[in-house]
């Protein structure tokens, strides 16, 4: 039992410090794991401190509840496939929001109508927590394909949404205004849940990560509000840290997808706009666009990268920058080679001319036959403005005009990054299956620009 409030607050301060450092570390690839461990430590300190507080009883209930929750959490987190991670985040985020709402409900019950700032906090906590709970569960369901991943829209949706939100608000105001009795909060929570569902339903599967991040920030704010209810600084601080960083993260994620938040949230009401590359093949495989920063991480952490230049590098006159990128990667210990296809470009030796101009040593250039056996051991094949010379149709599709041409086996690499401006075809005028390969990501844009971005991003790591 800890009875000195100073000691309690000091312990909570320790866990606050842990949380701040956790966030800090989580934002650098090198220390991210350490960050998570520190966060865990902070959490243990906070929980232990709380359990040891004077006046805490109902131990059995607490232990049993915690055990059940933990079991669900562990099993869920361990069992799930790597690809299903996003929905797990959604799920765990939702339950957190739910917990915040329940804490608010309990406090409301305990004090009936506490009045003043506490009531405001209770209302906020219940409202935001419930929205987050319901929204997250819908997001989970969508990603898990329990309901359709496509935007679900119906006419008059905005009107209905507005009405629901207003209803929730009315209950909230009533509570703050002094109305008491359980019904006020029940009503509030019910409408908030409804709003959470309606909020997420119209959003398409591709935008889910942004929405989950937004709901994550919501839960943080709800937790923080709970802190105001319970006068707990650790709750206020930890909750708000998540609220703020989650908000920023949401903005960053939206920006990385070239969307605005408004566009994500309200996109489905109008026309959903798509980036140049967001194509979807008939058989359901989609083209995955990526960002320079992601590619930079992939490249920096690779052991072996093969650069596959093509006509697009020539058009963009990106040869000097490509060389510089390779240099930077080599400086970081990555093994970089160039794979030169015999007919890359538009004249025999096109790539040689350009790479010689950029002073790439001849010893780094490899002919197709030499390099093809190396692709299976390659972490990233970096395709810079090449298209036909990487098209697997040449191997497999006798109907294709390029059938029979030997190609670079980039598809054998562990992952493939393609730099080009659009989904337009190359010289042969045919689509490239490679771009639908789940291992392939596309970095759209002029090759020179993209490579310059990659250089900065690699250096910033």
């Amino acid at each position: 039992m800890i009875s000195d409030p100073n000691v309690v607050d000091l312990l909570y301060l320790v866990s606050i410090v842990c949380f701040v450092l956790a966030l800090r570390f989580l934002s650098s690839p090198k220390h991210a794991r350490k960050g998570n461990w520190l966060g865990g430590a902070g959490m243990i300190v906070a929980i232990a401190t709380t359990l040891l507080l004077e006046g805490i009883g109902n131990w059995l209930l607490i232990v049993v509840g915690a055990a059940i929750g933990s079991a669900v959490g562990i099993v869920g987190a361990r069992r799930v496939k790597m690809t299903a991670m996003p929905q797990m985040v959604a799920l765990f985020n939702g339950v957190g929001g739910g917990a915040a709402a329940l804490v608010a409900l309990a406090e409301w019950h305990r004090t009936a109508s506490p009045g003043g700032s506490e009531t405001v906090s209770i209302v906020l906590s219940a409202l935001i927590g419930s929205i987050s709970f319901a929204g997250s569960l819908v997001a989970f369901a969508k990603l898990q394909e329990l309901v359709s991943g496509r935007p679900i829209v119906f006419p008059g949706q905005n009107v209905v949404d507005a009405v629901v939100l207003v209803a929730a608000a009315v209950f909230g105001i009533a509570a703050i205004d002094g109305a008491n009795g359980h019904w006020v909060l029940y009503g509030l929570i019910a409408f908030a849940l409804l709003f959470g569902v309606m909020f997420v339903l119209p959003i398409g599967g591709a935008d889910m990560p942004v929405v989950i991040s937004l709901l994550n920030a919501f839960t943080g704010v709800a937790a923080s509000a709970t802190g105001f209810v319970l006068h707990s600084t650790v709750l206020i601080v930890a909750g708000m840290l998540v609220g703020a960083s989650g908000t920023l993260l949401t903005l960053l994620m939206a920006k990385a997808m070239n969307r605005s938040i408004a566009n994500v949230v309200f996109g489905a009401f109008g026309q959903v706009q798509r980036g140049p590359g967001a194509g979807r093949a008939d058989d359901g495989r989609t083209v995955r666009a990526t960002t320079a920063q992601d590619v930079a991480v992939q490249l920096s952490f690779a052991r072996k990268v093969i650069v596959v230049p093509g006509y697009g590098m020539a058009v963009a006159q990106a040869q000097h920058d490509v060389r510089q990128l390779a240099d930077v990667l080599e400086g970081r210990g990555v093994d970089v080679k160039y794979a030169i296809h015999p007919v890359a470009g538009r004249m025999p030796g096109h790539m040689n001319v350009l790479l010689a101009e950029a002073n790439v040593p001849y010893t780094q250039l490899f002919e197709m036959d030499e390099i093809n056996p190396e692709f299976p051991q390659t972490d990233v094949a970096l395709v810079i403005g090449a298209n036909d010379v990487t098209n697997p149709a040449a191997r497999s599709d006798p109907g294709s005009p390029i059938y029979g041409m030997p190609i670079l086996d980039v598809d054998k690499a562990a992952s493939i990054v393609v730099l080009k401006r659009s989904m337009r075809p190359g010289f042969a005028g045919i689509d490239n299956e490679l771009y639908l390969d789940p291992k392939t990501t596309m970095l759209f844009g002029d090759a020179k620009d993209s490579v310059l971005k990659l250089i900065s991003a690699v250096k910033a790591l």
Binding site: V343, P348, A356, E357
Partner: protein
């Protein structure tokens, strides 16, 4: 199956159809190879290399009889054609579009001729595309000839004795040879402009760091990526525009061609006369009449201080690498015609059918 490689006898032809490296690769697949003594000498492949590679060196007389395939560079002389067995497959630059007589001669002798220049320019046939490989060499060589003859240095140099302005070079016709000429001239430091009538070429020219000269003349591309012939009006227009721009240039390399036709006349005498003395024109189209009015095929003409170099068969001047590339092209065709080491002529096949200029009666 026996493949014979004669020594080239055409005047000035220094290349050889198959180089030792190819010989040994073909041997592994079961081909039997006979090489005329001295065949590779001029290209830098002495007989002992052929021997090492597993080729059988024979005299001219013993070469042709019994050969299923004869691989040459230029069309062989009549007396050699006569010495071939009927049914022999002959591979080489047979000039089917410009030398009908020779083709008829082959047909009469029952020789199955495959013309390297008739191989369809499809993706699958790229490795057999000798036109491209030899044009690459020619484009490079053309710039060297110009650099050798122009009394200026190509690159800009700022020295204690003042600044040397870079040579300004113009490449007309940016096909395979033209693009290589652009690249080579840029390498040497010239400021390069280029012109072609096919609109797609602009981007290709710029992808080599050169600038595209707008002359306002455009024609469409044919199926094979070749240019169509200009109408007389277009030609006049182009000549006039060129006459306007050409005095700016110290070096002009012309490569314009339309398959099967005489080379288009692009540079009239009046344009040449406006050029600075010391300037050089290298006309890669000399063989088909030249892009320049003053070009004399095979000769070097000096007109008012301007040199017009009509040297033909430039690849032969770079015989080592030219032969090496050609040899790979022939190898690819051979493997296509005889995948397992024995001829299997599939007349349904686009390449086989397209490249053959004298199909045996039975097959057609």
């Amino acid at each position: 199956m026996r493949v014979a490689v004669p020594r080239e006898t055409a005047p000035g032809e220094r290349r050889v159809a198959l180089v030792p490296e190819t010989i040994s690769k073909l041997r592994e697949t079961g081909f039997e190879l006979r090489i005329e003594r001295g065949a590779g000498q001029e290209a830098g492949f002495p007989d002992d290399l052929y021997q090492e590679a597993g080729g059988e060196l024979v005299g001219a007389d013993a070469l042709l009889p019994g050969a299923a395939v004869v691989a040459c560079v230029a069309k062989p002389a009549s007396e050699r054609v006569v010495a071939m067995d009927a049914g022999t497959v002959l591979i080489g630059f047979l000039q089917p579009l410009t030398d009908r007589g020779a083709v008829d001669e082959l047909r009469e002798q029952g020789i199955i001729g495959f013309a390297m220049e008739s191989i369809p320019r499809i993706t699958r046939a790229q490795s057999m595309d000798a036109l491209s490989s030899q044009a690459t060499v020619a484009g490079y060589k053309a710039v060297l000839l110009a650099a050798d003859r122009v009394p200026k240095l190509f690159p800009m140099l700022m020295t204690a004795a003042g600044t040397i302005a870079p040579v300004r070079a113009l490449v007309i016709g940016a096909g395979v040879a033209g693009l290589q000429a652009i690249a080579t001239a840029r390498r040497l430091g010239a400021v390069v402009s280029a012109f072609d009538v096919r609109p797609a070429v602009k981007e290709q020219v710029e992808s080599l760091g050169a600038s595209f000269l707008e002359l306002g003349v455009r024609v469409e591309e044919t199926e094979g990526g070749y240019a169509r012939e200009l109408t007389p009006e277009q030609q006049a227009e182009q000549q006039a525009a060129l006459e306007e721009k050409i005095p700016d240039f110290d070096v002009v390399v012309t490569t314009a061609a339309v398959p099967g036709r005489a080379a288009p006349r692009l540079v009239p005498t009046t344009a040449v006369e406006r050029m600075r003395p010391g300037s050089v024109i290298v006309d890669l189209a000399a063989e088909t009449g030249g892009n320049c009015e003053l070009t004399k095929p095979g000769e070097i003409v000096v007109h008012g201080g301007v040199t017009i170099d009509g040297t033909t068969n430039l690849p032969s001047l770079m015989a080592f690498h030219a032969s090496q590339l050609y040899s790979r092209n022939v190898e690819a065709l051979l493997r296509h015609l005889a995948p397992e080491g024995e001829l299997v002529l599939d007349w349904e096949d686009e390449i086989t059918a397209g490249a053959c200029v004298t199909r045996p009666e039975a097959a057609s």
